[in-house]
Symmetry: C2
Subunit: 195 residues, 2 copies
């Protein structure tokens, strides 16, 4: 059975894809873009190195605009990023029987609530799964064991998170980015250690 | 790394064990007993057929007595079963670095809350995981794909759920069991279809 995994090239979404692959799903990694800046390249590279199929899906630019408006109003990224994730899930879920993302137990956003998941599955006749049953220590242990990882300060050239096009648009609008998105070290999957 | 999985011989705990096994953990399946009636035999058979190590851990009989008192008072099994599960997790977690169970997304009980999980992990320096990220349809699809399953009305001779010793004790106390535990069809794992 085909399974779409929303994919950033990070270890969480790579692990979710690996679990589905190990159980025989035909995994397609999906990276979302809005046509403003091609932030999908790092994810495409990770996907290629892992040997997974990879697609870039371009969503309506208005979603990005609305998310950035929310982020400017809140002076905080959470609601805007969560909005993008929900729109992405809705769009992709309509095209697959199984959809997954790399949300871990501790993640606050982007995250679907229990009732959002039930609504999604019922309305779109889809199965949704994520890593909510697993904590960050276990995800890290497994990822360190199976993936070659590269740890770097994330920037628009090495990450495919939703955040990257948001940063580009905030900059175009003359907003200070560092206040909204403090610098952080990011683990990118660059290949298998053990498959 | 060693990982203990609380194990009933059902598909949920078998799937949790399989995921950990696929990622290189040294899996030990643990079935809980209270020394009243040896309900661990079905789980031991399933474990043997899957090729996993299996241990029976006998917990203090008072835990079962207290659980059954709760169930009689409530005339409903949930609090008592949940109490047993929490006691089992606490006991086993103290002896392992990683502990898991087969709780799925829809399960209400037995279930650890987010704050119970955090408390457990912090106090006992353990990593806990379960199948909360996965819904029953996906668990069923994967289980049907990889396990040979036997579907039968559950009774004390074909299931190792906590419920079985509870039923035996309720019967000893002259309580009506069918009202508290309505008959239900149970899927037991009897071997691999595809490993």
């Amino acid at each position: 059975m085909k399974a779409a995994v929303l994919y950033s090239g990070g270890k969480d979404s790579s692990l979710m894809a690996t679990i589905l692959d190990k159980f025989g799903y035909d995994v397609e990694l999906i990276t979302i873009n809005f046509g403003l800046f091609d932030s999908s390249i790092p994810a495409a590279k990770s996907a290629k190195n892992l040997g997974f199929k990879h697609k870039v899906i371009t969503l309506n630019r208005e979603i990005l605009d609305d998310a950035v408006d929310m982020i400017i109003e809140d002076n905080f990224p959470n609601n805007g990023i969560n909005y993008i994730h929900h729109q992405a899930i809705e769009y992709v879920a309509a095209q697959y029987d199984v959809i997954a993302d790399g949300t871990r137990r501790e993640d606050r956003i982007p995250k679907l609530t229990m009732s959002e998941i039930q609504s999604l599955e019922d309305r779109l006749d889809v199965q949704y799964l994520n890593l909510t049953g697993i904590g960050y220590k276990t995800v890290n242990d497994i990822s360190d064991e199976i993936f070659e990882l590269e740890k770097k300060e994330s920037d628009i050239y090495n990450s495919s998170d939703y955040e990257m096009e948001v940063r580009v648009l905030l900059k175009q609008k003359g907003c200070s980015i560092d206040e909204i998105f403090p610098q952080h070290i990011q683990s990118k999957v660059i290949g298998w250690k053990i498959k």
